[in-house]
Structures are given as C-alpha cells and as structure tokens.
Symmetry: C2
Subunit: 404 residues, 2 copies
C-alpha cells in the first residue's frame, strides 16, 4: 500500500489554512479514526479563517481548490503516491468540514460536499488504480451524501435567483434610466395588475421554495445523524491514512495517470461534440424556450445532454487537479469557466422547472399565473444564454489534459 510512502503529508496539510491560523490542523490519528463510531473529531476545529464557502459545482469560489497543491514534480512518484496525496488532502478537508459543523453549518456542508464530490470523482476517474471492492461502495455513499447536502443550498440559490429575476422583470420606469425620445415627460410610476401578479408570484415561490428548503435541511440533519453517515465518515477517516490501491498504482504516475485522465476528457469531448453547439452559438435561436408550454419531458430531454456534459466537465476538472498539481492556470481556468456556464445552465433550467411547478398550484390568480409564465420563459432564455456562452467558449478553446 502506498500511503506509507507519504507520512509527511498529513502534518503539512495545515499549510492550506491561512497563515494567521494557529497550530497544526486537527484531524484524528488514523488508528483512532478507524475505530471511532462518533463522527465528530474530538479535537477543536482548526482556528484559521473561516473556510471558503464552496458551492462546489462551479469551482469558482473555493480558495482550497483554486490554489496550487504542494508541488509534486509531474515526473516523480508512482501513480499510487500521487493519488494518495490527493485523496489524503480531500479526506482531511472532509474531516475539517465535519469539525466545523457546529460553528458554521453552511460552510461546513460546502466543504463536506466539495470533498465528497472530489473523492468520489477521482475514485471514478482513476478507478483502475484502486481496489474496486472498496472504491465502488464508497463512491456510492459519497454520491448519496453530496446529493443530500446539496439540496438545501440549491433551493436557497433558486429562490434568490427567481426573486432577483422577478425584480428585474418588474422594473418600472422610475427604476430604470428611462430612454425618452423627443423629450417625452417622465410618466408617473404605476404598479398595475401585472406588478401585483409579480408580487404574488414572488410570494408563492418564496413559500414553496422555503418549504422545500426547510425539508431539505431536515433531511440533511437526519442524514448527518444516521449510522449510514457515520459509517461513511469512518471510511473517510481511514482514507486520511490509507488508500487501498490496486497493483497498477505501483507504475510511475506519468505513465498511468494521463491515459486515465485522457479517457475522462474524451468522454467529455465526445459528449460536448454531440451537443448542438453550432446552433447554440447562434444568438437568439430560441431553442431553449421552445418547449415552454409543452410537456415537461421535452425540456428535460433537451437539457439532459448539457447536464451530462456538466458532470463530465467536473470529472475532468478533478482529474486535472490530481495529475497537474501545479496547475496550468490558463487551461484550468477555461475548464472552470466552462463549468460555471453549465452550472448557470442547470440553475436556470431547474428554476424554470420550479416556476412551472408553482404555476400548477391550484386556485392561483390569473395575474400570478401570468407572472409565472413570464418568469418561466425568462429562465428558459437564461438557459439559452448559458448554452450560447458555453458554445462560444467551447468552440474557441477546448481545454484538454496535458501529459498524454
């Protein structure tokens, strides 16, 4: 097993906390972690600055992920060493997130989610390097956790997005810089029935999404207290010290890892190539709004290939984090930008679906329904705008893995 080759990594991982943080980062000793059944590490949380709020999906907000890793010479070490180092770091971040939960739940969950997604993703990409009997079940549990924890912030973000959009759509002449011609007198501000409908639509969405958020929060709490989670946390605690590697991991990293990252990238490139990029790069193609009034399934079917690319893009980003620890900043930035655009795509698509669902509420007023209709179409246009931006970015600069 390769983890013995990197004993000095564990104490040094506190270098990721800001310099004003006192003392080495706390994490349970491997032996203790392996036998604990309580998941909260007994040590106090690392006192460094509060961890970055990682919404995870966009990859734009985390200091943790944006900074280059401690230098691992690209040519040096076995694949097992490189992979182990990365998984150690993520596992330590996971445990740090756990210990943070009492302090700042949102930040802690973001850290847990981001770490869980990365560990799961990397175990997927570099699957041949690890023991499949160990990695497969762990990946499933990590997926469960990040999905469960991800719901609450998603509902919160969706509500913010939709209320912002409603405000934008209800702008009155007083609010905006009125462009007048021929010296028309500035009209008196007037709300009118449409503005009332917008206000009601906002209240309806707020009720529904707040309820969904509260439920998601309860589900998160329940999950965090479950024995299922405790078992997962234990498995991660073990990962801090030991990664069950496969024989293939003994090969040099430069020989084994780039082809695996390349496979991940190829899946991404193939999926992206299957998207209607050419059409999407033509502004105002009105594709995304096309099925606004048809069955929900139509929009879902249309969006699914884009969501798929978003997920594959994330995997490629994680693969790059492992194999290019020094980071080719320009290339990685492009991957990050592309991911952010597809995250916007997902948010808009899901927001549009939430609006359509709200419109099915029985006994709403026609003005409310009208405002929801406008909002739905607006969000579908945001979907289209995100596709447009992604298509332009992807067609001009296709980032690929190095080292092949």
């Amino acid at each position: 097993m390769a983890h013995q080759q990197l004993p000095d990594r564990l104490p040094s991982q506190h270098s990721q906390t800001p310099p004003d943080g006192g003392g080495p980062a706390a994490h349970p000793p491997p032996a203790a972690a392996a036998t604990r059944t309580r998941t909260r590490p007994p040590q106090p949380p690392a006192p460094g600055g509060s961890p970055p709020a990682d919404n995870g999906d966009t990859g734009t907000s985390t200091i943790m992920n944006a900074e280059p890793y401690d230098a691992t010479p690209p040519g040096g070490g076995t694949a097992g060493e490189v992979l182990t180092r990365y998984l150690h770091e993520r596992a330590a971040a996971f445990l740090r997130g756990l210990s943070l939960r009492g302090e700042n739940e949102a930040d802690a969950d973001a850290l847990l989610r981001g770490s869980a997604r990365r560990i799961g993703g990397v175990l997927h990409i570099y699957g041949p390097l690890t023991d499949p009997g160990w990695a497969e079940p762990l990946r499933a549990e990590l997926g469960w956790l990040s999905t469960t924890l991800g719901r609450e912030p998603q509902y919160a973000a969706r509500l913010t997005r939709l209320l912002d959009a409603l405000r934008r759509l209800s702008i009155t002449v007083d609010d905006q810089e009125a462009v007048t011609v021929g010296g028309a007198p500035p009209p008196a501000p007037s709300g009118g029935p449409l503005a009332l409908g917008a206000a009601r639509a906002g209240a309806l969405l707020e009720r529904q999404l707040t309820l969904a958020r509260t439920r998601a929060h309860s589900a998160s709490l329940q999950a965090m207290g479950s024995s299922r989670f405790h078992a997962l946390a234990d498995a991660i605690a073990v990962l801090v010290s030991e990664v069950p590697l496969a024989p293939a991991a003994a090969a040099p990293a430069t020989a084994v890892m780039p082809p695996l990252a390349g496979q991940a990238y190829k899946r991404l490139a193939d999926a992206a190539a299957a998207l209607p990029l050419h059409r999407a790069a033509h502004p105002y193609n009105a594709d995304a709004v096309q099925a606004s009034l048809g069955a929900d399934l139509t929009a879902d079917l249309q969006d699914a290939p884009w969501h798929q690319v978003r997920i594959l893009l994330r995997l490629s980003r994680y693969a790059a984090e492992v194999t290019r620890p020094e980071g080719d900043t320009a290339d990685r930035q492009r991957l990050t930008d592309a991911a952010a655009l597809l995250e916007r795509h997902r948010e808009a698509a899901e927001s549009a679906a939430a609006v359509a669902a709200a419109a099915r509420t029985p006994r709403i007023a026609p003005a409310t329904a009208y405002a929801l209709g406008v909002l739905h179409a607006d969000q579908r246009h945001e979907v289209e705008a995100a596709r447009f931006a992604f298509s332009r970015l992807w067609q001009t600069a296709v980032p690929g893995p190095r080292g092949r």
Copy 2:
C-alpha cells in the same frame, strides 16, 4: 411647373407591369381626374400580373420598389424634374391600387398604402421643393389613409405571429428531434395542463385579434367611401399630372436634393446613435424583457426610440429612391435590411403588448394566463433579438446617402 417637362412619363409607366400585361396602364386624364368626385377610375384595371403584395413597411416584398427606376442620369435635370418624376410614378401606382380594389382588396390596399407613405415621405424630405400650402395638408391626409388601411393587415400579421409562436412554444418531444442521452426511451407524448393553457391562450388571442381585425376592416371600408378619401384621391389624381413646386425646385437636382436627403439621413444617424446599440449588440442582455411585469409604459418608453429610428429609416429609404434612381443596390439593400429588422422589432413589441392586453381579460383560467405570460416574454425576447441584429448591422455598415 415642372410636370410639363415630362409628358412622356405618364404613358411609359406601364413598363412597371410585366411584359405580358396588355395595353398601356389606365389612369384618368388629368383634367377628368381633377373634376371627378368618384374615386374609382372608370377604366379597367391594368391586366398585368397581380401586383406584388406590399406590406410596405419592410420594403422587402415589392417588385415595384425593388426594381431600379427608369434611368434618370444622376447629374441631369432640375430638382423639380426628378421629384416630379418620382411623384408621378407613385401617384400612378396609387391610382392603380384604387382601380384594383374590386379585384384584390389586400393587394390594392397594400399598393395604396405603399404609395401614400412614399408620397407623404418624399413631400416631407423634399419639402423645400414643393408648395408648403399644398404639401402639408396632403401629407396629413396621406398619413391618415396609410394608418387607416394599415391596421387590418397589422392585426392579421400579429395573429399569425402569435399563433406561430404558441405552436413553437408548445412543441412536444414527438414534434422535435428529441436529443436523448444514454439511450433514454422516447417518452409518450403528453399535452398536460400547460398545453391546454396554450390552446386556450391561442383561442383567446384569435378571438380578440380577429375582432380587432374585423373592426379595422370596417373602418377601412368606411374610410374608402368617405368624402375625405375622395378628396384625397382627387388630389393624388392631380399629382399624376402636376406637382406644385416651389422656386427652389428649378435648381439642378444634384445641387439641391442631396443636402435634403442628407438632412433626413442625419436625423436617422443621430437617432440611431442615441440608441443603446452597444448594449443591444451584446447577446442575451435581457434588456427588452426587463419591464415585462412592470407598467406598460416602461416597455413603451424603451421601445419608442427604436420605433422612431424605424420611421426615420423609412424616410431615408424613400429619399434614396428619389435621388438615386439607379439604385446603389448594396447600400440600398443595407437600408432595406435594417428597416426589416426594425419592422420585426415593431411587430414583436406590438405583439407582446397585445398578449399583455389579452392577459387582462377577466376570468381567464390560470393556465391560459400562464401561457400568455410565456408568450409575452417570448415576444419581448424577439424584440431583443431584433435589436441585437439591428445593432450588429448598423454598427458594421452604416449606409449613407451618396452625392453629398
């Protein structure tokens, strides 16, 4: 008066009818026309192929306007001669439209409208060349006529546009080429409540716009039978033979007309420069949809400068028709394209307003209101798309009048 200098133009205007048309084009002799009170010329309509359907505004559809005029050397003749020739042609087209009315009302009205707009526009641009005491009242009457006749086709076009958009927005997975991922099974087609709402919204719009169209048709018929119209037709009949010119018209065309066309163009260029072109040229700026749920006035104020440019663009096109009879096809095409885009802008803006008005119908079902909301936002996005296209066109190729 200059009309005596061009006696050969009148018989030759039948050259605008296809060669298979028999006999010279019919129009009343000037003397008879001046004293008639009946407006229908007694002669049979020109038997040439049916005149092109001129919706007038876009300037893209008329063979009559697209073909170069009979050559007038740009350097030759007085301003009065050039102007008189153009007005003769338009007046003859007007009378041809009149005589066509019994045959094909829509085509006839389009011809009447197009001629009325051109005569009025040219009298405006080249005002200093004509007797203002004669031109100003005539322009007002021409404006009344083209507005009155224009309403019916506008309602018809609006209904077609909105029903098409509803169809596009209600597309189901069966209709479109479903993009599936991972071999998802093709779902069963389902209408659902949204599709029902779309159908009801379509029926509501059809009822309302058909009613408006019928009323507009009655108003047109009433106008055509009015003494006001008869007086106007008489004035146009006089125009076939005689244009009351001002002394300035005796100057060479090359000296007098280009500055006047230049003024018209300058007004256009200034108005276009005042538009938020830079912002509009950025796709998906979401400007046009901004005020969808605010007061109607907000959208109106936002659209007005663009409508203004549309009108000024039309005047510049007419000015070009007079002074550049041979036609600089590339430049004129750009003007025509720009005009078509702003016409699309107007249609989308007015369609959006019609949808908002329909949404205020009492006691509509929420699903209907929702569909109308989606449709409204869709049309406001069409507004934005038209602005985008216009901005791109205008910023890259600003057509200007020659001969300055």
